[in-house]
Amino acid sequence: MSEPKKPLPTKIGADAPPMPRVMLITGSRKGIGRFLVEHYLGQGYLVEGCSRGESDLSHPNYHHHSVDVADERGVRTMIADINRRHKRIDIVLNNAAIASMNHVLLTPAASANRMFEVNVTGTMLVCREAAKVMMRKRWGRIVNFTTIVAPIALAGEAIYAASKSAVVTLTRILAFELGQWGITCNSFGATPIMTDMIRGVPADKIDAVVNNLAIKRLGTPTDCSNVCDFFIHEQSDNITGQVIYLGGIT
């Protein structure tokens, strides 16, 4: 006689932790990262941020770490410090990245290596160390930032786009490796947003990208927070391994 089958679970992991939840945002000193810090502070989150430099943001619920995400020891020290003070990390937004526009024939190996170090290894290190803390609570949300320049194969962004494609693949596999502990992992790629990262890109190049979008406008920081809000929502516990590109790009 066969064993009676165990009913399949309808829920994995624990219930969502109560507010205020602890959120880590990398690359938080300026641009999208800074906007997201202020967005989530406004919603009552306890926000931890990091960047290579100091932050001028002063808020009772914000703590800044001067850390290069590609520095393994630095990342471990930062995560340990957050865990020591809050006893948990609920959400990670991996926004830190570097970009360098160059034709591939003019791209030095050092520049390519550095982009992969920060964008791929850095994202992996933050995910790895934060997930170790999240596992113990059986709940977590990770959002890794990618870019539409990967799916649109934008000339001049070969290495940056390749590194961000790696982030998408990393995220999809993390979703499977961490799902059993109630941790979701998703990624999203914004359309061009006027931050320091693209300020040096020629206007006609940006216009050409925008004109090929379904929604022909520049991206905004609110576009980013909107997607993050969705991914980190407590009811999004079955949304994982996904990538959302804005502007109609798939």
């Binding site: 393994e72 471990r76 020290t77 340990a80 865990n83 020591r84 170790k132 596992m135 113990r136």
Partner: protein
């Protein structure tokens, strides 16, 4: 700095926690010879992942020592430093000592 008995207590407590969090049947007793990896292992491969993370987190929260047990040195060894409770305890002890000496 931690001593051998402290390291062993961390490993054993972490292993008990892994059993508490999973459907895996716990062994009657946990000793230094309890096998963690390979044939006769009392936990599966995901249990090993959980165990290593639990050990790291306990060392961090209880003794403020931050280590990565699955480091380059450990992963390149011919014999797994995670194969039994005693071997993992030795690995934990040496890794923690290296971390505190830096």
């Amino acid at each position: 700095m931690i001593e051998l008995n402290t390291a062993e207590a961390i490993v054993v407590a972490s292993l008990r926690e892994v059993f508490a969090q999973t459907d895996l049947p716990p062994p009657e007793a946990i000793t230094g010879d309890t096998v963690l990896v390979g044939k006769d292992a009392v936990i599966d491969s995901l249990g090993v992942v959980s165990l290593i993370v639990e050990v790291e987190q306990r060392l961090e929260t209880e003794h403020a020592i931050s280590v990565v047990l699955a480091n380059d040195k450990a992963m390149s060894q011919r014999n797994s430093p995670f194969r039994t409770v005693a071997v993992l305890t030795e690995h934990l002890l040496s890794t923690a000592r290296e971390a505190t000496a830096q």
